[in-house]
Every structure is written in C-alpha cells, then in structure tokens.
C-alpha cells in the first residue's frame, strides 16, 4: 500500500553565504564602532572590547580580576545598585577576559538603549574597585579555583597552555593559590587606567539598530579622554616547554583527560583555511574520524573533538577528550594513527564532499542572525582581518584537494612536535 521510495531526496547545493558588511563609524574621540544591521526583534547586542586581556597583565589574575570588578561599584552606583538596575532593565551582561581582549557584551531591548549606555559607561570608565568587594571576589574565586582543580579536564588544559606557550608568558602560565593574595585595589586601578581607555577600545553593535545608536554612543562615550600613557610591551616571549609529554596523576579519577596539540598558525596565514578543513575531518564535527573511531566504533568516550584557534600572537590546535582510564593508552595510539592516516592516505572523494557540505552549512549558521553575525565579525576583526577571510574560507571549502590535505597534515601535525598532556 505504500509506494514511497525511501531514498534520499534531491540534494540542493548550499547557497553562497551573503555576509552583510558592517557599517564602520568613528565617535568624536576616535573610538571605532562597527554596526551590523540584522534581525526582526527590537533588540540589540553591544560589545565593548579592550586590548586588556591576559596578554597585557603583569600579575596572574590581574586582567580577569579587573574585568570582574567592573560591575562591583562605580562613582555613581554601588555594586548592588548596578546589578539590580541591569536586571531591572532586562539586560544580560557577560563580562569576559580572554587571552588577548577583555570587556563585556550586553544584550537589551531597544527601548532601554539610553539607560543601558549610561550604565555601560559607569561600568567601563568609572569603576571604583572597593576593597571589601575585591576581597570577597578573590575569596570566591579561590573557592571556584579549588573546585576546578578537581576536574581532570581543567587540569589538562591549564597544563596544555603552559607546555605550549611557556611558564613565563601570560598565554601559558598557570594560576596558583598564592596569586589570589596579590591583587589589591591599587593594581586594579593601575591596570584599568592603562588598558581600559578610549584609545584601546572598539565597539561592535548588532541587531535591529535603534535610529539614535551613533548619536547616543557619542553622547556617552564620545567625550571620554585618556591620558597618553606609554605602555611598554611585555618582554616575555612565547616559548614552548622542552618536555612534550606530561602526565599528572589524580587519585581516584575514573577517567583520564587527554589534550594533544601544539602552537600553530593563525587566521592571518594563507594555510589556515586549509588547516581548518583538515581539522574538521580529524575531529571537528560529529562524523569526524576521531568521533567515529573512538566513540562510535570503540565506545571509549562520551566525546572527542579537535579544534584550531587563533590568538593575536600565535594560534594553537588541540585534540581533547575524557576517556575511561583503562582506555587512555589505546586512545592515544588511535589519535596518532588517525593523524598518520591523514599524512599518508588521500582522503576519499566522498568524505571530502561530506566535509565540504558540512562546513558550508556551518558557514550559513555563522552568519544567521544578529548574535552570530557579531561573533563572526569579532573573530576576524581581532586578528586585523575582515570578511575577506570568510570568502577565502568558503573558496577553500569548495576547492581544496586531497593532496593539499596530506601536505597540511605533514606540515602542521608533525607527531614529534605535538605536546601530549594526560591527567588522571
């Protein structure tokens, strides 16, 4: 009675993504603002970014402590008032400190734009770093730190960055318990004065743009001035540790965390888009070779994946998983085997096609809606690039051939150069 042929329906090629260009304007005092119009709801997302990430700090925890203290009291509002007002206006604020940048993203309903900008100025430019709040924050953070030290995944990634970038560079060093005592209001004020300045700032706006956006940004941020301070670059250099294999034991652990990878090129390098393609084949999606082999074939883990990431001064690639303890050795052997296969055997046409299509679909998702658009904009902007990176990526996805994959795997996944960190 059923004549339906249950075969795959016609497959349509994925249309080229249409990336809206940001409108770039400059506030009266020179702060660059990038505006991306998108979406149907009356909402906006504004991100305030400063070059005030870990790379700028001269004490461990300094960058993140300064950032987290921004909402703990300003010239005109106490910490409690600031947080209550943000909630009252239905805003969502995410403070963040990354390796290169720090700042915050705020999401709000357009009707509250003026109040949100007023509060944002308070948070960014008029913080007072009260000692009591700071002590309490550091105590809380120490307590979170101790909890995180119980998780094998956290221990492994901290050690991974130390091995890759060295004990002396902010990209690499690990926070220790004693560091929590070294943060005082005076050092936060100093860091804030040097790095949270209009000259060090960029604003990314997206959503259904309120008609007065530029005018209001000028009203609240266009007249802020900064002292012209000369800031010397940190003298520390990126230098990987000599020891490639590190195992940290963790008693009572049921699983081992594994992180394998190394420092590598970033988005500025012409090979990066191809490396992204190679990484996707290896561990970048659910059908990847690592997922298929280690989870779907062998059941050693709940999940395994790989990624490549760009930093301003470097880049890195990492394979991550947590596996049953008894599978640790076997999993590591399989990871190297998969890398070896990519270096020696051309990827078959069908798999190339799957990855091309999967990545093309990902690109559609990367530019779908105001929030995704802003994030994609930021991730090229922070490397000094623009949408041309995405057009190159789209082109590479379309045209890369198996021999290039072999070349990239040999160049960038030289097994002797990979760090291998295991915990538990």
């Amino acid at each position: 009675m059923n004549s339906l042929q249950r075969i795959q329906p016609k497959v349509f090629p994925i249309e080229k993504v249409n990336i809206p260009e940001a409108l770039s304007v400059t506030l009266n005092n020179g702060i660059p603002v990038h505006i991306i119009e998108s979406g149907t709801e009356e909402i906006m997302r504004i991100e305030f970014i400063f070059r005030a990430g870990q790379v700028s700090e001269y004490l461990p925890l300094l960058a993140s402590a300064t950032n987290m203290m921004l909402t703990e009291g300003s010239q005109n509002y106490t910490s409690e008032e600031l947080n209550r007002l943000l909630d009252f206006y239905g805003a969502f604020i995410n403070l963040s400190t990354e390796k290169d940048h720090a700042g915050f993203v705020i999401f709000f309903l357009n009707k509250h734009i003026e109040k949100i900008l007023e509060l944002s100025r308070e948070i960014l430019f008029r913080p007072v770093f009260p000692e009591e709040e700071l002590n309490s924050l550091m105590k809380k953070r120490l307590s979170w730190f101790n909890i995180n030290r119980e998780k094998v995944g956290n221990l492994a990634i901290d050690q991974f960055f130390e091995s890759l970038f060295g004990k002396h560079h902010p990209y690499g060093y690990q926070v220790e318990e004693k560091d929590f005592g070294g943060i005082t209001p005076a050092v936060l004020e100093d860091f804030h004065m040097k790095y949270y300045t209009p000259g060090n700032m960029t604003i990314i706006v997206s959503g259904k743009i309120h008609v007065l956006t530029t005018e209001l940004l000028n009203k609240y941020f266009g007249d802020i001035t900064s002292k012209n301070l000369y800031i010397e670059d940190s003298a520390n250099i990126l230098k990987g540790e000599k020891r490639k294999k590190v195992h940290l034991s963790k008693s009572g652990s049921l699983q081992s965390a594994i992180r394998i990878g190394s420092a590598t090129i970033n988005k500025r390098h012409p090979d990066y888009t191809g490396l992204k393609f190679l990484d996707t084949i290896l561990g970048g999606y659910f059908g990847s070779r690592l997922m298929k082999n280690i989870r779907e074939e062998k059941g050693y883990t709940y999940g395994i994946g790989s990624s490549v990431a760009s930093l301003y001064l470097s880049g890195y690639k990492v394979i991550s998983t947590e596996v049953g303890r008894k599978y640790r050795k076997k999993t590591i052997d399989e990871i190297y085997k998969e890398i070896y296969l990519l270096q020696t055997i051309p990827v078959e046409k069908n798999e190339m096609e799957v990855v091309r299509n999967y990545m093309s679909g990902e690109m559609v998702r990367m530019f779908d809606g105001p929030f995704a658009l802003a994030e994609s904009f930021k991730s090229v902007w922070e490397l000094g690039l623009g949408n041309e990176y995405y057009y190159r990526l789209a082109e590479k996805i379309r045209t890369i051939e198996p021999d290039e994959i072999i070349r990239l795997a040999k160049t960038y996944y030289n097994i002797d150069e990979l760090y291998e960190i295991t915990v538990g």
Partner: protein, 414 residues
Amino acid sequence: MIKYDRFSLDNGLRVLVHEDRSTPLVAINILYDVGSRDEDPGLTGLAHLFEHLMFGGSVNIPEYDLPLQMVGGENNAFTNNDFTNYYLTIPSANIETGFWLESDRMLELDFSQKNLDTQKNVVIEEFNQRYLNQPYGDAILKLRPMAYKVHPYRWPAIGMDISHIENVGLEQVKEFFFSHYAPNNAILTLAGNVTSDIAFNLTNKWFGPIEKRRVSSRNIPAEPKQNEERILSIEKEVPSDALYKVWHIGPRKSADFYTLDLLTDLLAGGESGILYTELVRDKKLFSEINAYITSDIDPGLIVVQGKLMNGIDIQSAEECVNKVILNLPQRKGINEEIEKVKNKFESSTVFSNTSILNKAVSLAFCELLENPDLINMEVDIYRRVNLEMVNEAIAKYFVPSNCSTLYYKSIRKI
C-alpha cells in the same frame, strides 16, 4: 507573537509550523512522549540509551549523520524525565532530507548488537564523566531518592544504576521502540524558512505512510505526600561543603507553577538575586548559590543549592537560607524586586525567541502540555503573579516536612 499553524495526520502525528523568513535555515524538532519516568525500576536509563541508538542507522538509511552533513545540516538530541527530543537545523532548500531521515527512524531502527554494545559503553563513559568524575556530580543521584520514594523521578534520566545499562539486551530495546516510538506518540515542529503548505505536503509524504502503533499506556505511581523532614549527610573528597535542599511542588500545569518560577527568580535570578545578595555578597557564607524549579510534568521540586565558603558552619548557613526565604515577603522594596524579575522574564523570552531552534523546541513542549498557545501567553501569566501569591506559595511549600536536605561535606585529604 509566534504565529503557527497546527494540523495532525490520520496516524496521530501532531505537527506545528512557524514560518520565519528572516533566516535561510529551518529547524526540525521531533519530540517523543517518552522519558525516564516511563521506565521499569529494574531497567532504568533505557530512554536515554535509546536516544543514542537512534543515531545508529534506520531501516533504509545505514547511517543517520552522514546524509545530514552532506546537505549542511546539524543535529542533536536530549532525554529528560518526561520526554525525548531530537532536533536538527538545515539550509531550507534541503528540508526534505530532514523529513526523509526523521521519518525513516520513526518507521524502524536498524537494531544491531554491535551498535548497542558500543553505545552502552559510550553511555557508561557519559555517566562517569558527568556524575562520578566531577566534584559534587553525584549529588543529584543522592537527592532524587530522598525526595521521591515511589515515583520514577527517583532516578535521573541517565538511570538509577549503571548496571541496568550494562545488562540491557537487544530484545528489550526493540520492545521499547515499538511501544514508545510511534507517530501517535510524537510531535513534529518546524520553525524557520518554510511555509505551512510545504510542511504539510512533506509531512504527509514522509510520515503519512507510517502506521499508528499501540503505545504502552502510562501507569505511573503518584508520589505520596511527604510528612517528615528528610536529612542525609555524606562526606567526600571535595574542596568545600555544599548544601542541597529540595521541596515538593505541584505538576507543570498547576496554577502556581509561574508563581514558583517567579519566586525562585527572586531568590536567584542573576547577580542581583536575593540569596546571592544576602548570602554571597553581604554575609559571605557561600561562594555560589542557586535556586530553581524543575519543569517536570508530574509534581516536581524547588531546588536550592549552594557551595559554602571554607570555615562556615553548614547548619548555620542553612538557617540563613531558610530565613531569607521565609522573610522574603516582608523585604523592603520587594514589589520593585518583583517588577524586576518580570522585566527580566519578558526580555529573556524575547531573546530566546530569536532562535528558530528554541522556538521549535518550545512549541513542541507547549503542545505536549496540550496548550501550544502557551508559547505566547507565558509572559502575561508570569506578569500576573503578585506578592500575595508569592506569600501564599512560601507558606504552602517551604515547610520542613516537605523538604529533603543533603549535606555534602568535605573531608580533608591526607
């Protein structure tokens, strides 16, 4: 306002379509009305294990993920106590591939011993990773059986005991499929770049031929009223003490659900939540504290959980928690606080509805509650809550004989 069209097929499949032309993508969500509450106490975790098996290939399609990736799609799934939910997003030109994939695995799975064995292993590692190899990860495994003595909410979706998963056989898996996976036990929702006409035609074409099945009738024992305070204290190698308290509430559809939602938002919604302000910021008793209600369909729980600062006595911290809750209605400025959480609820609804996937999942859940309009009514219902209702709810639910408390204490390592 989320507009949608609703129809159902002769085989009982319910379908809801929300068109959103602002995206090139479409989200397809399929909810099966089966969760861990439908499991036998001797075979728990099966609904969740089954979710894993659903990716192992179906009767006409050897591998689920491959053809989806081939058309630029992405997918995932989750299982909770009440239902199992599968979703994917796909460029809308290739929407039909989504229909083909989802209908085939509703039709019949390709049951293989090999796939079952591998996925059992994966689930065991998932159990280890999430519950056993995390500090405090097993707290929920201890709490549920304290609060629930007979209702299947006494075990989490991953299962009561991992040996149930270790021992399950292929026949039991097959039986589970045919008694729960059926068009008449599923809700299909679509959100994004698709019209109702296209959705209707494709649903008819791909799901129409699947016959109605005899679905196991639901026969879940009701949890008897708790009449005594329940307390458990455990010691583990964790960095600090943690406090967990739960109180029974009514089912998802009860009148005071949104009152309790608002109440827990007052307590712990955001950095300015009352528990956070008083006990983390001011008194410095906790390093973090949270409060929420479970959104279970059958009678659920209010949960309050916090990690203590070192050196703080857990009982006196607990007394402070109780005091904050009981004194809440008399707080200075409480009406403004209520206004604040209402604003926040409204804006979080707006933000959530910017995602086609969120809209598809919410629509399916509201349909499961037999009230799809709820998706557009929740903000108003929440706005209608007032101080008097909050007051009544506190008096009704926050009584010691309705409460289970877990002291999760830290022992110093040697």
